[in-house]
């Protein structure tokens, strides 16, 4: 297939995945911000939403103070934020439109439908605060829904050929990045109690993180324990059965790259890099990670994940 086609499919999948993550981040933050102050003394939840969505710098370039409504608007609708949900959907559609021939009708329908809906939202936004909140709730639901529909359409309708593997690759590279980011932003609340910083750890912040990645129920199934920060880290980093965990993402990445290697009859730098990261995750334990420093571990992982992205681009996409 054309390198450009593979590139567009890969990025299309990344943008759809990112839009979903952003919607979940905003929802989790709303939930946290709605708590009475006694449960939530720090009050920095919108700042961390900005950081974990990677929109901190562009936001500060536009606004001086962090205000909930502005942050929400910036993450969801602002065209000036390269990683806003709006831009993700538009970029996904632009990429999809450029490679219409490589998409199934269902995939195109999902993307194009999302884009039309987005235009409708943009056209009908009200100024009235209460109505707007409600609108935003609908919109975020819609984004999550779209992401599910898109994912399902890929899974159910695409031929299992390189187009499919490139598009799955985009999903998992992006998802690994997103999970790592949310962990990094919240790493101080994930520190084990023995190393507590910032006073008592907030039960609600932890559950918000789990909700953000749709893992609260999963947590209970896996651990059958009350919420403990290091177990959350364990779930999101090392648990293979947790579909968002770094290990699970890398297992999928390796499967995609193996399929490509088989289809093309050769292996390259991307395959080697993915196997290296996978081996590292397989051999790690949560205790070691905390000893080494969670933040350091995640920074290292994000760096490795970016290197993988670069290797994929180099090997297949240019």
């Amino acid at each position: 297939m054309l390198s450009r086609t593979a590139d567009n499919l890969y990025w299309l999948a990344r943008y759809m995945e990112r839009a979903d993550f952003l919607a979940r981040t905003v929802e989790a933050t709303q939930r946290l911000a709605a708590l009475p102050a006694v449960y939530n003394q720090a009050g920095t939840e919108w700042e961390s939403a900005l950081e974990s969505s990677g929109a901190g710098d562009p936001y500060r370039a536009k606004y001086e103070v962090v205000e909930p409504d502005k942050v929400m608007d910036f993450i969801i609708f602002d065209a000036a934020n390269p990683s806003s949900i709006r831009n993700c959907i538009e970029l996904a559609r632009t990429n999809g439109r450029a490679v219409r021939t490589a998409l199934t009708a269902e995939m195109w329908d999902a993307i194009n439908g999302a884009w039309l809906e987005l235009k409708r939202f943009e056209g009908s936004r009200t100024r009235d605060d209460a109505a707007r909140r409600e609108e935003i709730t609908h919109f975020l639901d819609f984004v999550k829904q779209t992401s599910l529909v898109f994912d399902g359409s890929v899974y159910r309708t695409m031929l299992r050929d390189p187009s499919y593997w490139f598009s799955r690759l985009g999903v998992f590279v992006e998802r690994a990045d997103n999970t790592a980011r949310i962990l990094d932003v919240k790493y101080h609340v994930l520190l084990p109690e023995t190393e507590a910083v910032g006073g008592s750890l907030d039960y609600f912040q932890w559950t918000a993180i789990l909700r953000a990645v749709s893992a609260l129920t999963a947590y209970h199934w896996v651990y059958r324990e009350s919420i403990k920060p290091w177990l959350i880290a364990d779930l999101l980093i090392l648990r293979l059965e947790m579909p968002r965990s770094l290990l699970s993402c890398y297992e999928n990445i390796n499967r995609c790259l193996d399929s490509l290697g088989k289809a093309y009859g050769r292996q390259g730098a991307a395959q080697r890099q993915a196997r290296r990261v996978m081996a590292q995750l397989e051999n790690a334990s949560i205790e070691e990670i905390f000893q080494q420093g969670l933040h350091e571990f995640i920074t290292g992982f994000l760096d490795d994940n970016n290197k993988l992205g670069a290797a994929i681009a180099e090997q297949f996409l240019v």
Binding site: L2, R100, T101, N112, P162
Partner: protein
């Protein structure tokens, strides 16, 4: 649709009964459904210079246009004849130039034509085929005659509408299809691919690699490009996906470079190769012309075919057909005045309010004057343009174009139509799929059917004559 006696023509009998009996709400709801289908599938057309241009829908009319099979047969042989002659003419003017030496066509019309490509002189293209895909615009004036309005020999568009219109109609009106025997059009893609494969360079192996070259998603016909690549099962490439190494064209794939044998290009000559034509073009492929001339790749249509779709040259088509084939032209030309001839120019200037005047290299309905609908000021302005550069214009009488019933918000009413069948030429001859694109002027009384001017389209049915039905 009516004959000289004012009664619906035979071929329309069933349809007009159906239309007369169909409740208005039914038609309105089918219209709305059609609109929704087109929007969902994303069949759009961009109009340059308009806001929100990237995403406009072409109005679609749900009432099909009917042509009987016997009429179609006559049309078909005429089209094959015309395109054959067109290809012979192009091979001649880029080769021995016999028609110029015989004085049939003035040399100036060829050499001063902006679409004449000196780079193509004495280049032999595979199977002497230049126009692989032609779109011939046809109008009907009375029951017996079809007239050719225009030849499109560069990169004619619209075939995706022919195919999609049919799909949408089959979903909306199964009962009408059941009542008529309609010739299928969906094998167009197969025929096109066969034609393209058949003209691969002789050096290509038995399974030549065919690609479709598009200027990209901002081009007005991008939807069509992606649609066709999809139907043909070939790669849709942009200039940046291709490169030339040692006079061979390759595409960049996830498995490394792959050689390309045939390029169905939907990119104008000017933009094909910045080394040969416009140096500022980023849409093309540097070195493509050199590979083309070396014979390692086939371009469809060939470079320099624009000469044959020039409107001044069009007036010579009957002579061209006679010269190469020794046959009487089966399709008539619309009577055309060549403004380059001083006496004719005088006549045209005197009769502007009755005439349609067109630029010889214009397309898409731009730069034309429709006399009967023009204001006095417009006519005066056009008279000046004509006097300054008469050779750049031709004029035609406004014809009593036939009309077709068209579903408008207030009910069914007649609108002017034209018709563009698509003619394919490969190494094994010339073929036409039974059908084409009918364009319809959506404004009452308007003669302008171009989609860039707000015209719409309708499905065209070639149907078995009542007499031939078993």
């Amino acid at each position: 649709m009516t004959g000289p006696d004012g009664e619906p023509r035979e071929v329309y009998a069933r349809l007009s009964r159906w239309l007369a009996e169909a409740p208005p709400e039914l038609l309105a709801s089918r219209r709305a459904q059609a609109d929704l289908l087109f929007r969902r599938i994303g069949i759009t057309f961009a109009v340059y210079g308009e806001k929100d241009a990237a995403e406009r829908l072409i109005p679609f009319d749900i009432v099909p246009r009917l042509i009987s099979q016997s009429e179609w047969r006559r049309l078909e042989v005429g089209l094959v004849q015309r395109v054959k002659a067109m290809n012979m003419f192009l091979a001649d003017i880029y080769g021995p130039r016999e028609i110029l030496r015989a004085g049939i066509v003035p040399s100036a019309l060829v050499y001063q034509n902006p679409y004449f490509r000196p780079e193509m002189v004495n280049v032999r293209v595979p199977f002497d085929t230049y126009v692989h895909i032609a779109g011939i615009d046809i109008v009907r004036i009375d029951a017996d005659d079809f007239y050719v309005l225009e030849d499109n020999a560069r990169t004619p568009s619209g075939v995706s509408y022919m195919l999609e219109n049919r799909e949408v109609m089959m979903r909306l009106f199964p009962e009408l299809f059941a009542a008529h025997r309609v010739a299928p059009v969906e094998n167009y893609a197969d025929l096109l691919l066969q034609s393209l494969r058949s003209v691969a360079p002789r050096t290509a192996d038995a399974d030549p690699v065919v690609v479709l070259l598009t200027p990209g998603q901002y081009n007005s016909a991008y939807y069509e490009h992606s649609f066709l690549a999809d139907k043909l099962g070939i790669e849709l490439v942009e200039g940046r996906d291709l490169f030339v190494d040692d006079d061979v064209v390759y595409m960049r794939t996830t498995e490394g470079p792959k050689q390309v044998d045939v390029i169905y290009r939907r990119l104008d000559d000017d933009f094909l190769d910045p080394l040969a034509f416009r140096p500022d073009s980023t849409l093309g492929v540097p070195g493509l012309m050199s590979a083309y001339r070396a014979g390692t790749v086939t371009l469809a249509n060939a470079v320099g075919t624009g000469v044959a779709d020039d409107k001044a040259l069009y007036t010579y088509m009957p002579e061209i057909i006679q010269f190469y084939l020794g046959e009487v032209p089966l399709l008539k030309n619309v009577p055309t005045y060549r403004c380059r001839e001083p006496e004719t120019l005088r006549y045209v200037l005197e009769h502007l309010p009755e005439l349609v005047v067109k630029e010889v290299n214009g397309s898409g309905g731009y730069g034309m004057l429709v006399g009967p609908h023009a204001t006095r000021a417009e006519i005066e302005l056009f008279a000046k343009k004509l006097t300054l550069d008469p050779a750049n214009f031709i004029a035609q009488p406004t014809l009593a174009l036939s009309t077709c019933p068209t579903a408008m918000p207030g009910g069914i009413s007649p609108r002017h139509v034209d018709f563009r069948p698509f003619v394919l030429t490969g190494s094994k001859g010339v073929r036409v799929v039974p059908g084409g694109l009918t364009r319809v002027a959506m404004q009452d009384g308007s003669l302008v059917v171009n989609s860039s001017q707000g015209g719409g389209t309708k499905d065209t049915w070639i149907i078995e004559d009542a007499g031939t039905r078993s």
